[in-house]
Amino acid sequence: MSKDKVGFGYIWYRLRNIPTAYFAFWVILSICIVALLSGLHVPLSHYGYSQTTTDLLAAPSWDHPMGTDELGRDLFSRIVYGSQLSISIGVTTALIAFVIGTIYGAIAGFSGGKIDNVLMRGVDIAYALPDLLVMILIGVLIGRGTYGILISLGLVSWMGTARLVRAQFLQLQHEEFVEAARAAGQNSLLIVWKHLLPNAMGPIIVALTFTVPSAILSESTLSFIGLGLSPPACSWGTLASDGWRSLRGHPHLILFPSFFIFLTVLSFNFLGDGLRDALDPRTRLFNYGKVVQDPEEPVEKESPELVTKE
């Protein structure tokens, strides 16, 4: 398979030919830059985080493009500031879930039998334990701060990925190319890395991109149980959960934070999809129904007989 030859330049070339993914890439990059700059205390808004009692709950205007909150703070500044934590939490939690979940699921799915059974009962137990209690306990043990948040969210979000990877592996075990690799005496790790994982990637990427928003939103639950941020620090999750009751009176309080979560997640989805396609040379690229010309059309291999399982 030509997969071995895939290099960065090639991926980049293919990615640029998927407009949605290309656009998503730039959106994510700019959000990350904003988050990084605000983390380095670069003043991105002339209002900063000052409170006033004269401009409470102002609607969006030229002065305050996204309005102000109940303490007169500029919402735009708050969103810029909040991007820092929300992005890092969304991405890190997704990565933690990905790493733990994939390794755990791969071991279970590849080994099968008794090991699979025991490992999956472990997942059941981890699933069944009351999250809230676990998170309160972590809050008390580790204390507030980013580590507590990451550990809590990572601990409750890897199980789904593990189950998905395991199921994909169980199914793929019996595909011809795996059997062939086995018969050729390939090393197990190599089989997993080269054959199983790439073919299981689609659902895993979906799970990964869905962990991002759920981590961003659950972070607000964490601050509710005393594990999240100390005010006046804020995040998109806390902004959204603080603002939602104002839907009818001051919709800007919920509209803008939700929009940025949406934009981020949409970009991750597009990018994830694009990356998957760019990484997999078998895929022809689509662009609104039109086929994009591929620079090196992969050789169409002679397909084996149509396999249908009845």
Partner: protein, 305 residues
């Protein structure tokens, strides 16, 4: 298959025992006790209360006492809802959540799977784009906002559906919809991804190139092979949905058991926390076992033990 079921039932016992034991320790380690109130009580009164619920005994005695009752199917007493047993509370609340969760699950599958399939087959089309947009919105907008939007639009503004409460089947529509949004979005994305994965497979390409119509290929061969990840996700999802959602039940004032997962922890209502956790664990084990059976039906070569 019978062997699988029997094996799982036997395995369920140690799993439940471990879950019960860990939770038992967790509730007692977490700071704040059931009688830590808004207004502090004189120590004499706290002593009386603890004696009443056997919380004055050493932890290992409490544990043995609890396990003994558990074996007899007695989940204990609520400290918060005085005079009600945990069995009573769950017997009242679980059927409600089961109905609502069942409806939500059905809705999620009926929306999510077709949406994802269409998006995959018509890849890159406007339909695909719209599906991506909708499912992203469904997962990134918090469910309380979706609930509030639905309540306002259909309840207050258009006045065609009840705002809240649990009186008639019509009252189920909005909460079931709110409940279904995020799993439907997830299922749609997952279906799309795994159908695409299968569509890339050589045998499908062959089938298509040999002139088999797309729709027929999809329904007959592809969807079936793509169902494994969907079934995987449906296992825990079923357990989560039928034991109730805190947000949805809270928003629509529905007397289900979802709220206890949060309020019982908030109240440190030890036995109720244990009860809800165990009910959830049982459902999780059952639905995951069913998922494993479904694997075998979908793809007989899969070896599940």
């Amino acid at each position: 298959m019978l062997g699988l079921i029997i094996k799982r039932i036997l395995l369920a016992i140690p799993v439940l025992w471990i879950v019960a034991s860990i939770t038992f320790m967790l509730v007692r380690i977490v700071p704040g006790g059931p009688f830590e109130g808004d207004k502090a009580l004189p120590p004499e009164i706290v002593a009386n209360l603890k004696a009443k619920y056997h919380l004055d005994k050493p932890v290992h005695e409490q544990y043995l006492l609890y396990m003994e009752r558990l074996v007899h199917g007695d989940l204990g007493l609520s400290y918060k809802y005085i005079g009600r047993t945990v069995n009573d509370i769950l017997a009242d609340a679980f059927p409600v959540s089961l109905q609502l969760g069942g409806a939500g699950l059905l809705l999620a599958i009926c929306i999510g799977v077709p949406l994802g399939t269409i998006a995959a087959v018509r890849r890159g089309s406007g339909a695909d784009f719209a599906a991506m947009f909708l499912s992203t919105a469904g997962i990134s907008v918090p469910s309380f906002v979706i609930g509030a939007l639905l309540i306002f639009t259909f309840g207050i503004w258009l006045k065609i559906l009840p705002v809240a409460l649990w009186e008639s089947p019509r009252h189920m529509i909005l909460p079931a919809l709110t409940l279904a949004v995020s799993p439907a979005a997830y299922l749609a994305r997952l279906t799309r991804a795994s159908v695409l994965e299968i569509l890339e497979k050589d045998w499908v390409r062959t089938a298509r190139s040999k002139g088999l119509s797309t729709d027929k290929t999809v329904v007959k061969h592809v969807l079936r092979n793509a169902l494994v990840p969907i079934a995987t996700v449906l296992g825990p999802l079923t357990a989560i949905l039928v034991t109730g959602s805190f947000v949805v039940e809270f928003m629509y004032a529905i007397p289900g058991m979802g709220r206890f997962f949060i309020t019982a922890v908030g109240n440190r209502d030890y036995d109720l926390i244990m009860g809800t956790t165990l009910v959830f664990a049982v459902l999780l084990i059952v639905s995951n076992t069913i998922v494993d059976i479904v694997y075998v039906i979908l793809d007989p070569r899969m070896q599940v033990t």
